[in-house]
Amino acid sequence: MIDFLASVVAWFADPAHWRGEDGIPTRLFEHVQLSGAAVAIAAAIALPLGLYLGHTGRGGFVAINVANLGRALPSLALIALGLVASIALGLGLGFWPTLFALVPLALPPILTNTFVAVRAVDRDIIEAARGMGLRETQILREVELPLALPLILGGLRTAAVNVVATATLGALVAGGALGRYIVDGLALQEYDRLFAGALLVAVLAMATELAFGIPAARSRYSGSARPSDL
């Protein structure tokens, strides 16, 4: 046990593991780039849709149930389906199949949280804003969005943590990122590499969780998702 942990420390201390294509900085960058792209694409789709559905109050059934459906989709199955889609589109292995898997994974929590957050804004506040002569887009931008922000950030956080976790599986379809160490370490039975990769992924996932926690805590209405608290 001590010997093994020492070998992991030695793995991290080896300067060869800090440079080049298979170096930690490169793999970390690939992981963040891939995750960032997936969350950004999902947010670009789900945020406007969730705000619109929430503001008009339409499509609640769809917005809620898409989250349950998303939960039932296993991450490995998503990677598999991403691979089929990517090959069919001629985009090959690596980055694209993983991205195709990650975007549908990130959509449900963002859509559902945005919808619920906007619906949870006190109707009296909106009526007051309407009475003051605000246009619908102004109500959405200046009233609903700021009040809904903490919950929306919560949705983005769930999406980002799930995406960072699942991006690890991209190594199975010849992707880069930190999962490379785990998949290669498993295949080569190099357990120091495997363990080091797992540590890096775990730390990145926790850092993502914390990073989204800070703006949520700083937000003026943090923790008050219920209209009764506003």
């Binding site: 093994f4 039932a72 296993p74 991450s75 598999a80 691979l83 690890t168 357990y191 992924v201 775990a202």
Partner: protein
Amino acid sequence: MTPGEPLVRWDWIASHLDEIVLRLGEHLLLTGLAVLVGFAIAFALAMAALRWPRTYAAATWATGILYTIPSLALFALLIPFTGLTLLTAEIGLVGYTLLILLRNIVGGIRSVPPEATDAAAGMGYTAAQTLWRVQLPLALPVIIAGVRVATITTIGLVTVTALIGQGGLGYFILLGIQRFFSTPLLVGAVLSVALAVAADALLVLAQRALTPWARPRP
């Protein structure tokens, strides 16, 4: 996925029916064991949390960290110590169920109206009788909601345990990726989603049967 190859080869499915049933059984077994053990541990933690409220924060913190660690990473952290075994798979799977189950058991029991527990005390129920005959039955919808989420999540995670040689439907997905063969890949993906949907429906029915009073009256 190879050019000229159809997306689904039905003859492959027909000739591999035995193996599909076997992997489906493995998948169910891995899931069932994880949810059962997870529930037992979460229940013990919940009882401790209700008795000594301070332990609740510590328990949710610890299980929350477990929940945040990506599944493949958690398995990878265990492999050097417990090897490519069922134990590794189950430690990881059980770990993921704990946070959801703990939260829902404690939340369910805490949301029982005080009038109900006061009435039980007035009728001379002991603390244990109140728990088993009043609090737990009233908390059942929330608890089963937690079991539903835990079960669906576990069914998804079990696909990943194929990577550490524990079978399940993930075996077909990996086979498909390795051989560039879309048929087993789709069989594994579609069946694991179908299994999650079926398990969820079954648990909804179980909840209706167990809590007849919660049914909306016609």
